[in-house]
Subunit: 766 residues, 2 copies
């Protein structure tokens, strides 16, 4: 079979295109339209190529075998160690077959451009296609994908680092210091806790502890900076991270946010230096999620101007309290009783130990013992038996007792007061969300680097075993998680900025709702990612020397602390139901039920789904499609939920019971809301960038994130006829292509996380 | 509004039915047909009730409010502490409204029966419906679901225990002994390892170590019994389980299965008593899944009749070897080289230490250090430097060196020989599958008991906070996992029986394929279940005192050892592609490719799916529907996979590359095969049982397992038009009803796991 130079010039592309997969009819049509416009092809050439793209008569086995033969003949003269591009090979083949007169036409830039455009149209302008080609023409000398990354990793890192890049770098430099190394074999909790305490002191000495506080109290007056420090500390030992968070974020945050000048002047300086160690005693054995019903009481005694702090039952004991064994003082959350009246939850500073570190009278402290992880943090249980403290120890920003012994508060509504106090502590959730993503990045960094070193089975070559990352299942396991970590980065940056910038009440409510959702999403992402990475590293992933076991164990509690994820998602759902603004603080189901009833019941306007059967890759990769799909899901979930609730209400079902019955729906709505938000923040960020290889790299991550989100929840989209079965399958196909596109750049993507080698605490990638 | 006695007799059922959810049109039709046939209703009654079931005009808000009013009036005279059934209440209301003459008609058994039948038809004959009713009529005194279990837990346990019930009980009694308690705070690996070693010796003294071996070597000649012991030991400390497995199952199994009489006589007795501690040195740093390419060599020297065992490189070191620090001997897997020719993998017994426990010359052993879990097991690395052993140390059942120094084997084909040797060790996978399910059951036992104790938020009552297990999300998180553990029990029992009974080669192949699939499925089930249970117990689940952290950490490696799950699933898929019989042993992709090409390519006969739009609960709960759906999925995946492979082959794509490209498809096929098998084995078991409350309890588990399987993978069924969106939603609805049906019996379901209280090592449920 002899083909014309024109046909030969695109033959390598045709060969790979057809061997790669079956093209969809709409892809075929797009390709046909393109072929018509290629300038250097003769009409005969075009006719033949069009025939080959006719979906009713795809190239026969014989034709395909002919192509293979031609390419293999050409390959005989090819130096296989030099990896030419498909376009290059096509042009060379054309030149060989061309007449002398015709030769120089094949050197024209325009010709090359048109073939390159065609390659791109076919989605084959990537290293994987090149590899497929070489494997086909020389199967026993299969080449591996080149490790050349298509973008500048430092520039990509700058995008991820955002505005606190310098502070993050400073924190990393500090963490890299010898002081912060901990032997992997140090498993004895008491010893480890001492090391962590000392390291935490070092962080304080560097000014990192007081970072949020005003300058006059030794701080840098930067709340955003403090979240950036926390986010970065998660690259190091996670017990240190949590110890730091407990001392400065929780205990420090309570004194700073719930206290007033008296407390700031008296405590902030010492606290920021860790000269005053304190704990945040909120959770009790009997009450965790339900803070409002804590049992501990602080009863005011006007005669002595003191508060009597007391745990009335065993289950009133404070539980899981970090820093309990090292603290001199606790910020105790308790019911404030004044003149026999309970004014709800308030916070009282209660000294726990004297200067010799002896536990004070009336106080009982027990160690929580070993935990799944975070064994460098001293969690304990604390009970109070009629412990008296001066009334000044009440953190009195939102509620105080005046000189006449009368309770006073700037917020009259007790429920509103409660949620305002809790809202002041939202920084913890913002920080945990950020740290979760850092932990996920660390796991991906290890697993992807290992998959680029570890070989098993001579699958693709007779000479060498195949890299783990060249297996399709391995790509499918790791790349969607990689894309999620990328996407989360930008959403979390937005959260940070909104958190820093929120002053008005409505803004604060929005931040609380956002933080609740992103904390849940990010912490589950961390758990799932670290687990997958551990398994993807096989037995090596099970050894402590490779850090994944500690990463997994230490972060596992992130889904629970700072609010159980299921409870947080219901908070978020409630705020969505009430238009993101009011009532979020209330927590009462009845108010929400009333609000829903007030809103006019409307019929869901089933607009024609956005091209329900369009399976073109171009369409599937289009951000407008992603945005529309994710908005549609959230809106429809919101509508059907409101509708179900209204229908229950019409039947006089108790409002609380309605919430129990629709609980799974509430959680689904909240998750849909978070995912839609993450995608949109990613797109917003991309819109600000000029074209560059780094922007292209980020776009690939966005596409992978969005399509994976649709793919994971495709059941919902199918059930709701947003797209059909063919489109759903097409999404998977496009995802697989994206994985292959990501594969050659995988190392670059994890390098851009900017995790210093010294903090990559894994022998397998050392 | 006054209703007739007839209408009042079914009003409680109507009220709950309509408040519960919106009924589907087909359910409505079924109910209407039923109403027509209720004998004690007048024509007027029927007409009114039919009106209320007309889907076009469901009861109006006003009507519903009327019902509520009537019921609340009646409730005023009701003693709320006595919980009457809906049927009871209906009859009482009817009697109150009836004329004197009519009174006694309401005491007739036939009338009661017809109302009970109607209640059942509506799916409301359960404790949850009763609760709904009481909550509605007296919202502020909401009653909790009664804890009366509907079946006999001991009888249910007997079904789960199966034929080795006595041996399991004996093992539990032993484990319950004081000897086997380990302080939760014992975290120091060297100390813990000593304790575990001593405990393992105790098991050996009780005859549990040698259980598989023939009676003349101190055993009980029961392979099945030995798997039952392993399954049950998983209720105790898992380091002990694995130590036991390494010594008796792996090291013992290698000597027994790969050795001959000489080795049996020399070693089995001492080995079974743990007087000879040994390890199973297969995996190397460089080769885990790919055993065939291990680097360690054993080179025969005829002059001295010795084998020289050698690790040529650093990566040839044996890795993760359990018992490495305590062993006197290793069964070393290595390439056997005789007269310069490599005969492939064989096993050689190599002494590691002398009687003073000093490491012998040429041998280097290093501790693997701390691991995520199983820190009571001494895993280590071992290198050999030209270590000489007598040729008799070759385990020579499948390959030997005769007196003339010539290699001899009963199996000529080296590939077949390799897979026969490996196949002889399949017991390890069977055992790990069984132990995985035990671990999952332990976690469910803890989490469900805790959810029946722990309360949070006064959601359903003003007096008392609500039990975690009464939250819909909590049920949705735990019950499908409970059902999976039930279902797996019967499939694993079948595997055990097939494993014990397999003698012919084809049987063995089938057992290998089954074991590969079930080990993967069960180990992932354990990981997912324990993680979910840990999270479902909140902060308490993070404390080591509540066992979940150790359960999670210790079992996490089950997905990796005895074969990485992804690799095993591909083995299973290959065996399915080749009709479950041939070539499984081969492992070569080319042979499978050829086999596929030989089979006639057929077109997938798209039979009308089994009632694609039937959303009746009766149909959805029908085992025939489950069987059909799960078979359909497997068959279609097999067909489309074969088809894709053939199409690649026609395009001359390298067979190995075809397997890489279709890897995710292979894994999906294997998982579909396993799930179909589990469901069918459950149904087969159920068919053998006469009707009883325990059978009904098992049927509920089967329905929950099967529908959850369809629900989890509903995207596939939707994409492939096996069912439509409405049916998919209906499945979720039926699942939710099943959860509510399971709820009152939840404690009974976990009690039937038969985990002794003393082994329930969790403070929260102590």
């Amino acid at each position: 079979m002899n083909y014309s130079p024109g046909v030969l010039s695109v033959l390598p592309i045709f060969y790979v295109g057809w061997s790669d997969s079956v093209l969809s009819p709409s892809e075929m049509r797009a390709i046909q339209a393109f072929i018509e416009k290629i300038p250097h092809l003769s009409d005969d050439d075009k006719q033949l190529l069009l025939l080959w793209t006719d979906q009713r008569h795809p190239p026969s086995k014989e034709t395909f075998a002919d192509w293979a033969k031609i390419l293999q003949q050409y390959a005989a003269s090819l130096d296989l160690s030099e990896r030419k591009k498909l376009v290059e090979i096509g042009i060379e083949m054309a030149k060989k077959a061309a007449s002398v007169a015709d030769q120089k036409n094949w050197d024209s830039a325009q010709v090359r451009q048109s073939i390159e455009d065609f390659e791109q149209k076919m989605g084959l302008n990537n290293a994987l296609s090149q590899q497929t080609f070489y494997n086909a023409i020389a199967p026993h000398n299969a080449l591996e994908i080149s490790q050349e990354v298509a973008f500048d990793t430092a520039q990509l890192q700058a995008h991820l680092d955002g505005s606190f890049a310098d502070l993050k770098q400073r924190t990393k430099t500090l963490l890299a210091d010898e002081t912060f190394r901990i032997p992997t074999d140090l498993r004895q909790k008491d010893e480890l806790r001492q090391v962590i305490l000392e390291q935490c002191r070092q962080l304080a000495r560097q000014g990192l502890g007081a970072y949020t506080f005003p300058i006059e109290y030794g701080g840098s007056a930067s709340t955003g900076g403090s979240t950036a420090i926390f986010e970065t500390l998660a690259m190091g030992n996670l017990s240190l991270l949590i110890k730091y968070g407990v001392q400065f974020g929780l205990f420090g945050g309570a004194v700073y946010q719930l206290g007033t000048q008296y407390h700031h002047e008296k405590y902030l300086n010492a606290l920021g230096k860790l000269d005053l160690a304190g704990c945040f005693a909120m959770t009790e054995t009997g009450h965790g999620s339900n803070v409002r019903d804590l049992e501990t009481t602080a009863t005011y005694d006007h005669a002595t101007r003191t508060l009597v702090v007391h745990s009335p039952t065993e289950t009133a004991g404070k539980e899981y309290i970090g820093n309990a064994l090292h603290s001199q003082m606790a910020a105790v959350f308790c019911q404030l009783v004044v003149n026999g009246q309970n004014h709800g939850i308030h916070t009282v500073l209660v000294p726990l130990r004297d200067e010799q570190h002896t536990v004070l009278e009336g106080i009982t402290i027990k160690d929580c013992g070993y935990k799944m992880g975070l064994n460098g943090v001293d969690n304990g249980r604390i009970w109070f038996n009629q412990v008296r403290v001066p009334v000044q120890n009440l953190l009195n920003r939102y509620g105080d007792i005046d000189e006449n012994g009368q309770y006073q508060s700037p917020i009259q509504n007790p429920s509103k007061r409660f949620f305002t106090m809790l809202g002041a502590l939202v920084g913890g959730r913002v920080s945990v969300a950020l740290a979760s993503n850092t932990a996920a990045k660390k796991a991906l960094d290890i697993a992807i680097r290992y998959a680029l070193k570890r070989r098993q089975f001579k699958t693709l070559s007779e000479d060498q075993e195949t890299l783990l990352l060249d297996y399709a299942t391995h790509q499918e396991r790791l790349f969607p998680l990689l894309a999620k970590s990328y996407a989360l980065t930008f959403a979390l940056e937005t959260l940070r900025q909104k958190f820093v910038g929120s002053t008005a009440l409505d803004d604060k409510r929005e931040v609380e709702a956002l933080a609740a959702g992103l904390k849940s999403y990010a912490s589950w992402h961390a758990t799932a990612t670290i687990q997958e990475c551990r398994e993807a590293c096989g037995g090596k992933g099970y050894l402590t020397e490779n850090e994944l076991p500690d990463l997994k164990a230490d972060t596992d509690i992130f889904a629970t602390f700072e609010g159980d994820n299921y409870v947080l998602l219901q908070l978020l759902a409630k705020s969505i139901l009430t238009d993101f603004k009011q009532e979020f603080s209330d927590g009462g189901y009845l108010a929400i039920a009333r609000h829903l009833l007030q809103r006019a019941s409307t019929k869901w306007a089933e607009t024609n789904p956005f091209a329900a059967n369009n399976t073109d890759a171009e369409h599937l990769l289009d951000p407008d499609f992603h945005t529309d799909a994710l908005r549609h899901r959230e809106q429809k979930l919101l509508f059907t939920l409101s509708d179900r609730m209204r229908s229950f209400m019409a039947k006089k079902v108790n409002p609380n019971e309605i919430f129990v019955r629709t609980q799974t729906h509430l959680v689904a709505l909240a998750m849909a809301n978070v995912e839609r938000f993450i995608n949109e923040e990613f797109l917003k960020y991309l819109q600000t960038l000029p074209e560059s290889p780094e922007k292209a790299a980020l776009q690939t991550m966005q596409q992978c994130f969005a399509l994976d989100a649709l793919h994971r929840d495709r059941a919902w989209f199918l059930e709701n006829d947003y797209f059909g079965g063919e489109k759903s399958k097409a999404i998977r196909k496009v995802l697989e292509k994206l994985y292959r596109q990501i594969r050659p750049d995988a190392l670059g993507y994890v390098e851009a996380f900017g995790i210093p080698a010294v903090l990559r605490n894994a022998e397998i990638v050392a």
